[in-house]
Amino acid sequence: MVFSTVLTSVPNLYLTRKPKDIHIPIRCLSSPSVSISSQSNLTQFDLKAYWAILYAEITQKLEEAIPVKYPDQIYEAMRYSVLAKGAKRAPPVMCVAAYEIFGDNRLAAFPTACALEMVHAASLIHDDLPCMDDAPERRGQPSNHKVFGDDMAILAGDALFPLGFHHIVMHTPPELVPESRLLHVIAEIARTVGSSGMAAGQFLDLKGGNTVDFIQEKKYGAMGECSAVCGGLLAGARDDEIERLRRYGRAVGVLYEVVNDVLLSKLTEKEGTEGQEKKGKGYVSLYGIEKSMEIIEELRSKAKNELDGFEKYGDRVVPLYSFIDYAINRGFNVSDLSQ
Protein backbone atom coordinates (compact mmCIF):
# COMPACT_ATOMS: atom_id res chain seq x y z
CA MET A 1 0.00 0.00 0.00
CA VAL A 2 1.38 3.36 -0.91
CA PHE A 3 0.29 6.41 0.99
CA SER A 4 1.37 9.94 0.44
CA THR A 5 2.29 11.94 3.47
CA VAL A 6 -0.08 14.68 4.31
CA LEU A 7 0.48 18.37 3.97
CA THR A 8 -2.14 21.00 3.43
CA SER A 9 -1.86 24.43 1.93
CA VAL A 10 -2.84 26.23 5.11
CA PRO A 11 -0.19 27.52 7.47
CA ASN A 12 0.71 24.73 9.81
CA LEU A 13 0.37 25.37 13.48
CA TYR A 14 0.50 22.07 15.21
CA LEU A 15 -1.24 20.86 18.31
CA THR A 16 0.88 21.21 21.39
CA ARG A 17 0.66 17.44 21.63
CA LYS A 18 1.72 16.83 18.06
CA PRO A 19 5.37 17.61 17.22
CA LYS A 20 6.31 18.47 13.62
CA ASP A 21 7.74 15.11 12.70
CA ILE A 22 4.76 12.95 13.60
CA HIS A 23 2.53 12.30 10.63
CA ILE A 24 -0.34 9.99 10.00
CA PRO A 25 0.46 8.57 6.58
CA ILE A 26 -3.06 8.43 5.26
CA ARG A 27 -4.06 9.46 1.78
CA CYS A 28 -5.72 12.82 2.12
CA LEU A 29 -8.67 13.96 0.08
CA SER A 30 -6.68 16.48 -1.94
CA SER A 31 -5.06 13.58 -3.79
CA PRO A 32 -5.30 12.41 -7.41
CA SER A 33 -8.08 9.91 -6.73
CA VAL A 34 -10.57 12.74 -6.07
CA SER A 35 -12.07 14.48 -9.10
CA ILE A 36 -10.08 17.46 -10.33
CA SER A 37 -12.68 20.17 -9.68
CA SER A 38 -13.53 19.15 -6.13
CA GLN A 39 -9.87 18.48 -5.47
CA SER A 40 -8.91 22.04 -6.30
CA ASN A 41 -11.84 23.44 -4.33
CA LEU A 42 -10.78 21.35 -1.41
CA THR A 43 -7.15 22.42 -1.48
CA GLN A 44 -8.20 26.04 -1.87
CA PHE A 45 -10.69 25.89 0.97
CA ASP A 46 -9.34 27.61 4.05
CA LEU A 47 -10.78 25.59 6.90
CA LYS A 48 -8.87 27.58 9.47
CA ALA A 49 -10.47 30.86 8.38
CA TYR A 50 -13.92 29.26 8.12
CA TRP A 51 -13.58 27.81 11.58
CA ALA A 52 -12.15 31.04 13.05
CA ILE A 53 -15.17 33.07 11.94
CA LEU A 54 -17.64 30.56 13.32
CA TYR A 55 -15.61 30.16 16.48
CA ALA A 56 -15.81 33.90 17.18
CA GLU A 57 -19.55 34.12 16.46
CA ILE A 58 -20.49 31.08 18.51
CA THR A 59 -18.31 32.12 21.44
CA GLN A 60 -19.88 35.57 21.43
CA LYS A 61 -23.38 34.11 21.49
CA LEU A 62 -22.48 31.66 24.24
CA GLU A 63 -21.08 34.52 26.28
CA GLU A 64 -24.37 36.37 25.95
CA ALA A 65 -26.42 33.27 26.68
CA ILE A 66 -24.93 32.71 30.14
CA PRO A 67 -24.78 36.04 31.96
CA VAL A 68 -23.76 35.96 35.61
CA LYS A 69 -26.77 36.39 37.89
CA TYR A 70 -27.55 35.65 41.51
CA PRO A 71 -26.36 33.17 42.79
CA ASP A 72 -23.05 33.85 41.03
CA GLN A 73 -21.34 30.50 41.57
CA ILE A 74 -23.58 28.41 39.38
CA TYR A 75 -23.29 30.80 36.47
CA GLU A 76 -19.52 31.10 36.95
CA ALA A 77 -19.27 27.31 36.94
CA MET A 78 -21.34 27.05 33.76
CA ARG A 79 -19.29 29.76 32.03
CA TYR A 80 -16.01 28.25 33.14
CA SER A 81 -16.60 25.11 31.13
CA VAL A 82 -18.57 26.48 28.20
CA LEU A 83 -16.21 29.42 27.58
CA ALA A 84 -12.97 27.50 28.21
CA LYS A 85 -10.23 28.79 25.92
CA GLY A 86 -9.27 25.27 24.93
CA ALA A 87 -12.71 24.44 23.57
CA LYS A 88 -12.69 23.63 19.88
CA ARG A 89 -16.38 24.26 19.21
CA ALA A 90 -16.45 21.26 16.89
CA PRO A 91 -20.16 20.42 17.43
CA PRO A 92 -21.40 23.93 16.56
CA VAL A 93 -19.10 24.19 13.54
CA MET A 94 -20.24 20.80 12.30
CA CYS A 95 -23.88 21.79 12.76
CA VAL A 96 -23.54 25.03 10.80
CA ALA A 97 -21.53 23.35 8.04
CA ALA A 98 -24.16 20.64 7.65
CA TYR A 99 -26.94 23.24 7.66
CA GLU A 100 -25.21 25.19 4.91
CA ILE A 101 -25.33 22.28 2.49
CA PHE A 102 -29.08 22.87 2.21
CA GLY A 103 -29.85 26.17 3.91
CA ASP A 104 -29.00 29.77 3.17
CA ASN A 105 -29.22 31.64 6.43
CA ARG A 106 -26.93 30.49 9.18
CA LEU A 107 -28.90 32.50 11.75
CA ALA A 108 -31.30 29.57 11.67
CA ALA A 109 -28.56 27.27 12.90
CA PHE A 110 -26.78 29.39 15.51
CA PRO A 111 -29.11 28.77 18.46
CA THR A 112 -28.93 25.01 17.95
CA ALA A 113 -25.18 25.23 17.41
CA CYS A 114 -24.83 26.99 20.76
CA ALA A 115 -27.09 24.45 22.43
CA LEU A 116 -24.91 21.62 21.13
CA GLU A 117 -21.88 23.24 22.72
CA MET A 118 -23.71 23.70 26.03
CA VAL A 119 -24.83 20.09 26.07
CA HIS A 120 -21.36 18.92 25.05
CA ALA A 121 -19.80 20.94 27.89
CA ALA A 122 -22.37 19.52 30.33
CA SER A 123 -21.56 15.94 29.49
CA LEU A 124 -17.82 16.62 29.77
CA ILE A 125 -18.29 18.19 33.21
CA HIS A 126 -20.14 15.10 34.39
CA ASP A 127 -17.68 12.70 32.74
CA ASP A 128 -14.76 14.32 34.59
CA LEU A 129 -16.31 13.94 38.04
CA PRO A 130 -14.47 11.86 40.64
CA CYS A 131 -17.24 9.28 40.62
CA MET A 132 -16.87 8.95 36.83
CA ASP A 133 -13.60 9.32 34.91
CA ASP A 134 -12.01 11.33 37.71
CA ALA A 135 -10.11 13.60 35.34
CA PRO A 136 -8.09 16.45 36.89
CA GLU A 137 -7.86 18.46 33.70
CA ARG A 138 -9.98 19.31 30.73
CA ARG A 139 -9.27 21.52 27.72
CA GLY A 140 -5.97 22.67 29.20
CA GLN A 141 -7.39 23.85 32.52
CA PRO A 142 -8.39 22.22 35.82
CA SER A 143 -11.69 20.30 35.57
CA ASN A 144 -14.84 22.07 36.69
CA HIS A 145 -15.15 20.07 39.93
CA LYS A 146 -11.54 20.90 40.87
CA VAL A 147 -12.37 24.59 40.84
CA PHE A 148 -15.97 24.69 42.02
CA GLY A 149 -16.35 21.44 43.95
CA ASP A 150 -18.24 18.28 43.06
CA ASP A 151 -21.71 19.56 43.99
CA MET A 152 -21.46 22.73 41.92
CA ALA A 153 -20.00 20.81 38.98
CA ILE A 154 -22.90 18.37 39.00
CA LEU A 155 -25.36 21.24 39.16
CA ALA A 156 -23.57 23.19 36.43
CA GLY A 157 -24.01 20.19 34.14
CA ASP A 158 -27.62 19.82 35.26
CA ALA A 159 -28.26 23.45 34.39
CA LEU A 160 -26.52 23.40 31.01
CA PHE A 161 -28.66 20.60 29.55
CA PRO A 162 -31.98 22.44 29.90
CA LEU A 163 -30.34 25.77 29.05
CA GLY A 164 -29.49 24.29 25.67
CA PHE A 165 -33.12 23.44 24.98
CA HIS A 166 -34.32 26.76 26.29
CA HIS A 167 -31.84 28.57 24.08
CA ILE A 168 -33.05 26.76 20.98
CA VAL A 169 -36.69 27.55 21.74
CA MET A 170 -36.11 31.21 22.57
CA HIS A 171 -33.69 32.14 19.79
CA THR A 172 -34.49 30.13 16.69
CA PRO A 173 -36.34 32.44 14.29
CA PRO A 174 -39.68 30.71 13.56
CA GLU A 175 -39.80 32.22 10.09
CA LEU A 176 -36.57 30.38 9.28
CA VAL A 177 -37.32 27.09 11.02
CA PRO A 178 -40.90 25.81 11.40
CA GLU A 179 -41.69 24.59 14.92
CA SER A 180 -42.35 21.03 13.84
CA ARG A 181 -38.77 20.83 12.62
CA LEU A 182 -37.51 22.33 15.86
CA LEU A 183 -39.17 19.51 17.76
CA HIS A 184 -37.20 17.00 15.74
CA VAL A 185 -34.00 18.85 16.57
CA ILE A 186 -34.83 18.85 20.27
CA ALA A 187 -35.71 15.16 20.21
CA GLU A 188 -32.46 14.39 18.39
CA ILE A 189 -30.31 16.18 20.97
CA ALA A 190 -32.25 14.66 23.86
CA ARG A 191 -31.84 11.16 22.45
CA THR A 192 -28.14 11.68 21.76
CA VAL A 193 -27.30 12.76 25.25
CA GLY A 194 -29.64 10.45 27.08
CA SER A 195 -30.17 6.81 27.57
CA SER A 196 -29.59 5.71 24.02
CA GLY A 197 -26.53 7.82 23.41
CA MET A 198 -23.76 9.32 25.42
CA ALA A 199 -24.99 8.31 28.83
CA ALA A 200 -25.01 4.74 27.59
CA GLY A 201 -21.49 5.13 26.24
CA GLN A 202 -20.21 6.55 29.46
CA PHE A 203 -21.89 3.77 31.41
CA LEU A 204 -20.08 1.15 29.38
CA ASP A 205 -16.84 3.07 29.64
CA LEU A 206 -17.10 2.96 33.40
CA LYS A 207 -18.07 -0.66 33.61
CA GLY A 208 -15.19 -1.87 31.46
CA GLY A 209 -15.29 -4.74 29.06
CA ASN A 210 -13.86 -5.16 25.60
CA THR A 211 -16.41 -3.09 23.75
CA VAL A 212 -14.24 -0.11 22.86
CA ASP A 213 -15.87 0.27 19.44
CA PHE A 214 -19.30 0.63 20.93
CA ILE A 215 -18.03 3.02 23.59
CA GLN A 216 -16.18 5.21 21.13
CA GLU A 217 -19.18 5.33 18.88
CA LYS A 218 -21.53 6.18 21.66
CA LYS A 219 -19.34 8.81 23.24
CA TYR A 220 -17.60 10.51 20.34
CA GLY A 221 -19.46 9.38 17.29
CA ALA A 222 -22.70 10.41 18.97
CA MET A 223 -21.84 14.09 19.19
CA GLY A 224 -20.56 14.25 15.62
CA GLU A 225 -23.65 12.46 14.42
CA CYS A 226 -26.01 14.67 16.39
CA SER A 227 -24.38 17.90 15.21
CA ALA A 228 -24.50 16.94 11.55
CA VAL A 229 -28.07 15.67 11.79
CA CYS A 230 -29.31 18.79 13.58
CA GLY A 231 -27.81 20.96 10.86
CA GLY A 232 -29.67 18.97 8.23
CA LEU A 233 -32.93 18.97 10.19
CA LEU A 234 -32.86 22.74 10.61
CA ALA A 235 -32.47 23.23 6.89
CA GLY A 236 -35.30 20.84 6.01
CA ALA A 237 -33.16 18.14 4.41
CA ARG A 238 -34.87 14.95 3.25
CA ASP A 239 -34.94 11.83 5.41
CA ASP A 240 -32.36 9.98 3.33
CA GLU A 241 -30.09 13.03 3.43
CA ILE A 242 -30.42 13.17 7.20
CA GLU A 243 -29.42 9.52 7.47
CA ARG A 244 -26.44 10.17 5.25
CA LEU A 245 -25.38 13.05 7.51
CA ARG A 246 -25.88 10.77 10.48
CA ARG A 247 -23.46 8.16 9.15
CA TYR A 248 -20.96 10.82 8.10
CA GLY A 249 -21.06 12.59 11.49
CA ARG A 250 -20.63 9.35 13.38
CA ALA A 251 -17.66 8.30 11.26
CA VAL A 252 -15.88 11.65 11.62
CA GLY A 253 -16.49 11.74 15.37
CA VAL A 254 -14.94 8.34 15.90
CA LEU A 255 -12.18 9.06 13.37
CA TYR A 256 -11.15 12.11 15.36
CA GLU A 257 -10.86 10.03 18.49
CA VAL A 258 -8.91 7.17 16.94
CA VAL A 259 -6.43 9.68 15.52
CA ASN A 260 -6.14 11.23 18.99
CA ASP A 261 -5.26 7.82 20.36
CA VAL A 262 -2.60 7.24 17.71
CA LEU A 263 -1.06 10.70 18.12
CA LEU A 264 -0.95 10.26 21.87
CA SER A 265 0.71 6.87 21.65
CA LYS A 266 3.29 8.14 19.16
CA LEU A 267 4.03 11.08 21.42
CA THR A 268 4.37 8.85 24.44
CA GLU A 269 6.65 6.54 22.50
CA LYS A 270 8.76 9.41 21.25
CA GLU A 271 9.13 11.12 24.58
CA GLY A 272 9.41 7.90 26.48
CA THR A 273 7.02 9.27 29.07
CA GLU A 274 3.93 7.81 30.68
CA GLY A 275 1.54 10.13 28.93
CA GLN A 276 -2.10 10.27 29.87
CA GLU A 277 -2.94 6.59 29.72
CA LYS A 278 -6.55 6.01 28.87
CA LYS A 279 -6.51 3.11 31.27
CA GLY A 280 -5.88 0.67 28.45
CA LYS A 281 -9.18 1.37 26.78
CA GLY A 282 -8.08 3.31 23.72
CA TYR A 283 -7.91 1.88 20.22
CA VAL A 284 -4.11 1.65 20.25
CA SER A 285 -3.98 -0.15 23.58
CA LEU A 286 -6.51 -2.71 22.41
CA TYR A 287 -5.71 -3.11 18.72
CA GLY A 288 -2.16 -1.85 18.30
CA ILE A 289 -0.91 0.87 15.98
CA GLU A 290 -1.25 -0.99 12.69
CA LYS A 291 -4.82 -2.05 13.14
CA SER A 292 -5.67 1.43 14.41
CA MET A 293 -4.25 2.90 11.21
CA GLU A 294 -6.44 0.53 9.21
CA ILE A 295 -9.44 1.68 11.19
CA ILE A 296 -8.52 5.29 10.46
CA GLU A 297 -8.42 4.55 6.73
CA GLU A 298 -11.76 2.73 6.90
CA LEU A 299 -13.42 5.62 8.69
CA ARG A 300 -11.91 8.20 6.37
CA SER A 301 -13.18 6.27 3.40
CA LYS A 302 -16.62 5.75 4.92
CA ALA A 303 -17.04 9.43 5.76
CA LYS A 304 -15.95 10.46 2.29
CA ASN A 305 -18.31 8.01 0.62
CA GLU A 306 -21.26 9.39 2.52
CA LEU A 307 -20.43 12.92 1.40
CA ASP A 308 -20.09 11.78 -2.20
CA GLY A 309 -23.84 11.23 -2.04
CA PHE A 310 -24.26 15.01 -1.77
CA GLU A 311 -22.57 15.64 -5.09
CA LYS A 312 -25.46 17.66 -6.44
CA TYR A 313 -24.83 20.33 -3.80
CA GLY A 314 -21.42 21.06 -5.28
CA ASP A 315 -19.12 23.31 -3.27
CA ARG A 316 -21.49 23.48 -0.33
CA VAL A 317 -20.15 20.14 0.85
CA VAL A 318 -16.49 21.21 0.81
CA PRO A 319 -16.31 22.19 4.51
CA LEU A 320 -17.52 18.74 5.57
CA TYR A 321 -14.88 17.08 3.38
CA SER A 322 -12.23 19.28 4.96
CA PHE A 323 -13.23 18.11 8.45
CA ILE A 324 -12.19 14.60 7.46
CA ASP A 325 -8.75 15.82 6.48
CA TYR A 326 -8.49 17.93 9.59
CA ALA A 327 -9.37 14.97 11.81
CA ILE A 328 -6.37 13.17 10.38
CA ASN A 329 -3.70 15.79 9.81
CA ARG A 330 -4.67 18.54 12.27
CA GLY A 331 -3.38 21.25 10.00
CA PHE A 332 -3.86 23.96 12.60
CA ASN A 333 -4.30 24.36 16.32
CA VAL A 334 -7.94 25.20 16.93
CA SER A 335 -7.27 26.75 20.30
CA ASP A 336 -5.14 29.35 18.54
CA LEU A 337 -8.32 30.65 16.96
CA SER A 338 -9.43 32.13 20.26
CA GLN A 339 -6.59 34.67 20.17
Binding site: K69, P71, Q73, I74, Y75, M78, A122, S123, H126, L129, C131, M132, D151, M152, I154, L155, G157, D158, A159, F161, P162, L163, F165, H166, V169, M170, P174, P178, E179, S180, L182, L183, H184, I186, A187, I189, A190, R191, V193, G194, S195, A199, Q202, F203, L206
Partner: protein
Protein backbone atom coordinates in the same frame (compact mmCIF):
# COMPACT_ATOMS: atom_id res chain seq x y z
CA UNK B 1 -25.37 16.39 47.67
CA UNK B 2 -27.66 15.90 50.62
CA UNK B 3 -26.13 12.49 51.13
CA UNK B 4 -29.49 10.98 51.82
CA UNK B 5 -30.13 7.27 52.25
CA UNK B 6 -33.84 7.31 51.63
CA UNK B 7 -36.09 8.86 49.01
CA UNK B 8 -39.81 8.18 48.62
CA UNK B 9 -39.52 5.38 51.14
CA UNK B 10 -36.82 3.49 49.21
CA UNK B 11 -33.02 3.52 49.39
CA UNK B 12 -31.65 6.33 47.27
CA UNK B 13 -30.51 5.64 43.73
CA UNK B 14 -26.81 6.07 44.51
CA UNK B 15 -27.02 3.68 47.43
CA UNK B 16 -28.35 0.96 45.17
CA UNK B 17 -26.53 1.67 41.92
CA UNK B 18 -23.52 3.77 42.89
CA UNK B 19 -22.79 7.45 42.37
CA UNK B 20 -21.57 7.12 38.81
CA UNK B 21 -24.72 5.39 37.57
CA UNK B 22 -26.76 7.83 39.62
CA UNK B 23 -25.36 10.86 37.77
CA UNK B 24 -25.87 9.16 34.41
CA UNK B 25 -29.39 8.09 35.32
CA UNK B 26 -30.22 11.67 36.24
CA UNK B 27 -28.86 12.95 32.92
CA UNK B 28 -30.70 10.27 30.99
CA UNK B 29 -34.02 10.97 32.73
CA UNK B 30 -33.68 14.71 32.22
CA UNK B 31 -33.10 14.29 28.53
CA UNK B 32 -35.71 11.59 28.17
CA UNK B 33 -38.26 14.02 29.59
CA UNK B 34 -37.55 16.44 26.76
CA UNK B 35 -37.53 13.72 24.16
CA UNK B 36 -40.85 12.49 25.48
CA UNK B 37 -42.49 15.91 25.32
CA UNK B 38 -41.06 16.54 21.86
CA UNK B 39 -42.35 13.32 20.29
CA UNK B 40 -45.25 11.93 22.33
CA UNK B 41 -47.83 14.69 22.55
CA UNK B 42 -50.77 14.33 20.19
CA UNK B 43 -53.44 16.81 19.24
CA UNK B 44 -51.40 19.88 20.06
CA UNK B 45 -49.82 22.26 17.58
CA UNK B 46 -46.02 22.17 17.29
CA UNK B 47 -45.85 25.81 18.32
CA UNK B 48 -47.45 25.03 21.65
CA UNK B 49 -45.24 22.02 22.27
CA UNK B 50 -42.19 24.16 21.60
CA UNK B 51 -43.44 26.72 24.12
CA UNK B 52 -44.06 23.97 26.63
CA UNK B 53 -40.49 22.73 26.20
CA UNK B 54 -39.22 26.24 26.79
CA UNK B 55 -41.17 26.48 30.04
CA UNK B 56 -40.04 23.07 31.22
CA UNK B 57 -36.41 23.91 30.48
CA UNK B 58 -36.63 27.19 32.35
CA UNK B 59 -38.12 25.57 35.43
CA UNK B 60 -35.46 22.92 35.91
CA UNK B 61 -32.38 24.93 34.98
CA UNK B 62 -30.38 27.69 36.61
CA UNK B 63 -33.46 29.89 36.89
CA UNK B 64 -35.40 27.22 38.73
CA UNK B 65 -34.60 23.91 40.33
CA UNK B 66 -30.81 24.15 40.06
CA UNK B 67 -30.63 27.53 41.77
CA UNK B 68 -32.88 26.27 44.54
CA UNK B 69 -30.47 23.43 45.05
CA UNK B 70 -27.45 25.77 44.99
CA UNK B 71 -29.01 27.97 47.68
CA UNK B 72 -29.97 24.95 49.73
CA UNK B 73 -26.38 23.72 49.70
CA UNK B 74 -25.06 27.20 50.46
CA UNK B 75 -27.32 27.46 53.47
CA UNK B 76 -25.84 24.44 55.22
CA UNK B 77 -24.22 25.49 58.47
CA UNK B 78 -25.45 29.08 58.22
CA UNK B 79 -26.98 30.29 61.45
CA UNK B 80 -28.82 33.40 60.41
CA UNK B 81 -30.85 32.20 57.47
CA UNK B 82 -33.84 34.49 57.25
CA UNK B 83 -37.34 33.74 55.98
CA UNK B 84 -36.63 35.55 52.73
CA UNK B 85 -33.73 33.23 52.06
CA UNK B 86 -35.81 30.19 52.88
CA UNK B 87 -38.59 31.35 50.61
CA UNK B 88 -36.09 31.89 47.81
CA UNK B 89 -34.91 28.31 48.17
CA UNK B 90 -38.40 26.86 48.09
CA UNK B 91 -39.63 29.06 45.28
CA UNK B 92 -36.85 27.70 43.16
CA UNK B 93 -36.48 24.19 44.44
CA UNK B 94 -40.10 23.16 44.73
CA UNK B 95 -42.45 25.77 43.40
CA UNK B 96 -40.70 26.15 40.05
CA UNK B 97 -41.55 22.63 38.98
CA UNK B 98 -45.12 22.82 40.23
CA UNK B 99 -45.59 26.12 38.50
CA UNK B 100 -44.25 24.58 35.31
CA UNK B 101 -46.77 21.74 35.63
CA UNK B 102 -49.65 24.19 35.80
CA UNK B 103 -48.34 26.45 33.06
CA UNK B 104 -47.72 23.47 30.78
CA UNK B 105 -51.27 22.31 31.39
CA UNK B 106 -52.51 25.77 30.41
CA UNK B 107 -50.36 25.97 27.28
CA UNK B 108 -51.38 22.53 26.08
CA UNK B 109 -55.02 22.78 27.09
CA UNK B 110 -55.67 25.95 25.17
CA UNK B 111 -55.92 23.75 22.10
CA UNK B 112 -58.92 21.81 23.43
CA UNK B 113 -60.81 24.99 24.18
CA UNK B 114 -59.85 26.58 20.91
CA UNK B 115 -61.38 23.60 19.15
CA UNK B 116 -64.64 23.87 21.10
CA UNK B 117 -64.89 27.60 20.56
CA UNK B 118 -64.27 27.24 16.88
CA UNK B 119 -67.36 25.08 16.53
CA UNK B 120 -69.73 26.80 18.94
CA UNK B 121 -69.08 30.51 18.69
CA UNK B 122 -69.71 33.06 15.98
CA UNK B 123 -66.90 34.94 14.28
CA UNK B 124 -67.82 38.18 16.00
CA UNK B 125 -67.62 36.62 19.45
CA UNK B 126 -64.40 34.84 18.66
CA UNK B 127 -62.60 37.64 16.94
CA UNK B 128 -61.49 35.18 14.28
CA UNK B 129 -63.22 33.11 11.61
CA UNK B 130 -65.56 30.55 13.17
CA UNK B 131 -66.15 27.11 11.79
CA UNK B 132 -62.88 27.01 9.88
CA UNK B 133 -61.79 23.81 11.57
CA UNK B 134 -64.79 21.97 10.18
CA UNK B 135 -64.27 23.48 6.75
CA UNK B 136 -60.64 22.51 6.72
CA UNK B 137 -61.62 19.12 8.12
CA UNK B 138 -58.94 19.37 10.77
CA UNK B 139 -58.60 16.81 13.49
CA UNK B 140 -59.99 18.49 16.59
CA UNK B 141 -61.38 17.40 19.93
CA UNK B 142 -65.01 18.10 18.97
CA UNK B 143 -64.54 16.14 15.78
CA UNK B 144 -62.97 13.15 17.52
CA UNK B 145 -65.12 12.93 20.63
CA UNK B 146 -68.00 15.36 20.09
CA UNK B 147 -68.80 18.74 21.66
CA UNK B 148 -70.21 17.47 24.93
CA UNK B 149 -67.31 15.16 25.69
CA UNK B 150 -64.85 17.90 24.70
CA UNK B 151 -66.48 20.27 27.17
CA UNK B 152 -66.33 17.59 29.85
CA UNK B 153 -62.65 17.04 29.11
CA UNK B 154 -61.92 20.76 29.31
CA UNK B 155 -63.74 20.95 32.64
CA UNK B 156 -61.75 17.99 33.95
CA UNK B 157 -58.49 19.69 32.95
CA UNK B 158 -59.60 22.84 34.71
CA UNK B 159 -60.44 21.07 37.93
CA UNK B 160 -57.20 19.03 37.75
CA UNK B 161 -55.28 22.29 37.58
CA UNK B 162 -57.13 23.70 40.55
CA UNK B 163 -56.48 20.56 42.54
CA UNK B 164 -52.77 20.94 41.91
CA UNK B 165 -53.01 24.41 43.42
CA UNK B 166 -54.87 23.24 46.52
CA UNK B 167 -51.96 23.01 48.91
CA UNK B 168 -50.82 26.58 48.41
CA UNK B 169 -51.56 29.83 50.10
CA UNK B 170 -54.76 30.93 48.35
CA UNK B 171 -53.60 34.51 48.04
CA UNK B 172 -50.36 33.59 46.38
CA UNK B 173 -51.99 30.99 44.16
CA UNK B 174 -54.77 33.39 43.14
CA UNK B 175 -53.17 34.42 39.83
CA UNK B 176 -52.79 30.79 38.80
CA UNK B 177 -56.34 29.94 39.85
CA UNK B 178 -57.60 32.91 37.90
CA UNK B 179 -55.58 31.82 34.88
CA UNK B 180 -57.06 28.34 34.96
CA UNK B 181 -60.59 29.70 35.20
CA UNK B 182 -60.01 32.37 32.61
CA UNK B 183 -58.80 29.87 30.08
CA UNK B 184 -61.63 27.47 30.83
CA UNK B 185 -64.43 30.01 30.68
CA UNK B 186 -63.18 32.37 28.04
CA UNK B 187 -65.45 33.15 25.18
CA UNK B 188 -62.83 34.00 22.60
Amino acid sequence: MDNDDLRRGKPTNHKVFGEDIDVLAGDALLDFAFEHVAVSIVGVTPGRIVRAIGELAKSIGAEGLVTGQVMDINSEGLTDVGLDYLEFIHVHKTAALLEAAVVLEAILRVDVLDDILDVTKSSKELGKTAGKDLLADKVTYPKLIGIEKSKEFAEKLRSDSLELLQGFDSEKAAPLIALANYIAYRQN
